[in-house]
Amino acid sequence: MTLAFDAILIATVLAVAGWTIAARETFAAVIGFVAYGLLLALVWVRLAAPDVALTEAAIGGGVTGVLLLGGAARLRGVVAAPDAWPAATLRLAAAALSATVAAALAAVVLLLPDPAPTLAPEALASLPATGLGNPVNGVLMAYRALDTLHEKVVLVLALIGVWSLAADRAWGGIPGQRRPTRRDDALVFLARLLPPVGIVIGVYLLWAGADEPGGAFQGGALLAAMWLLAMMAGLVTLPAVSSRWLRLALVAGPALFLAIGLAGFVIADAFLAYPEAWAKPLIIVIEIALVLSIAATLGLLVAGPPEQAPPR
């Protein structure tokens, strides 16, 4: 019975994925991509990875989908010239190459040992030292804390890259175009209804992340989605990127993470080490600061570079 279910799920995922590649209109392809991201959440649940399912649904489907959608709306009417498509022979070669890569990966999947070598017992054994109950979060915040810190820095660097694309007159200004505010009552209603629920659920995911699936990324991505919804409805306006509190919110999470990591030299034995008795409260403090920074960074990455001159 599980086999039949998985087969239906995989067939659907592959069909939608094929559609996003084959669709003629970009807008339609992006819709397919969002549907694909939401379906992948089901796949991750079947792979016993609810933390990843939450991340994939929130970031892979939701936020990336809106990012691509914004791009598609801005590029509407810009269609590649028919001669921009590669010649049939090249397409055939590309298809052959892709099929070869896929076949090689498939062979690897079939040949790899099952059960695979695992670090699960080690992760579980060191979990009590963090005071957390969710092994994935334990790995993210303790064992691989350095990678998680890097990732936060990557997010901020990407945002700096996006901002640096601003035109001169909009330098330090407000992200996105000024849209004529057509008030759409249904959208405004939704933007008043959903965010309070979304904020509660986002905070719940952050809180539950200590012991159950969830955490700063998932909570932050949900908060970002709610912020974007309120932006679309015109209920909130973005601050200028030169605003001091905005920049503070962006770096608060990574900065606190780094500070506590550096303090690890003194209060524990190494960089990013936590003293055992303090591990859980420290991790939760870091995560609370991170969730705000992640939500702000994700929302601003979708909003794009400043395009309106700063208020002065």
Binding site: A4, F5, I8, T12, A15, A35, L42, A58, I201, G214
Partner: protein
């Protein structure tokens, strides 16, 4: 009982898959926008049934997030599709 729940999950997923194929083909933008809405109901029902069948309570949290995100995505689609061809699309 678990098998029956799983069978129900498979059935609902099959319905979602058929609907999804129909909707994505269009012909209008409005048809396609319904994709997220369809996953917001059928996808969640599937997820909840799996959670019950396999005893994986965390899947309910995923369904909770999915409910919000499907509504968010549908709203974003409608917002993007309703966008009139901005004449000043390039100079802000």
């Amino acid at each position: 009982m678990a098998d029956l729940l799983l069978a129900a999950a498979g059935f609902v997923l099959l319905m979602v898959a058929l609907g999804l194929v129909r909707i994505l083909r269009g012909p209008t933008v409005a048809d396609r926008i319904m994709a997220a809405q369809l996953l917001g109901t059928g996808g969640i029902a599937t997820l909840l049934l799996i959670a019950a069948a396999t005893g994986m309570d965390a899947a309910i949290d995923v369904a909770l997030a999915l409910a919000l995100l499907a509504a968010f995505a549908s709203a974003a689609f409608a917002y993007g599709a309703a966008d009139p061809d901005d004449p000043e699309a390039d100079r802000g």
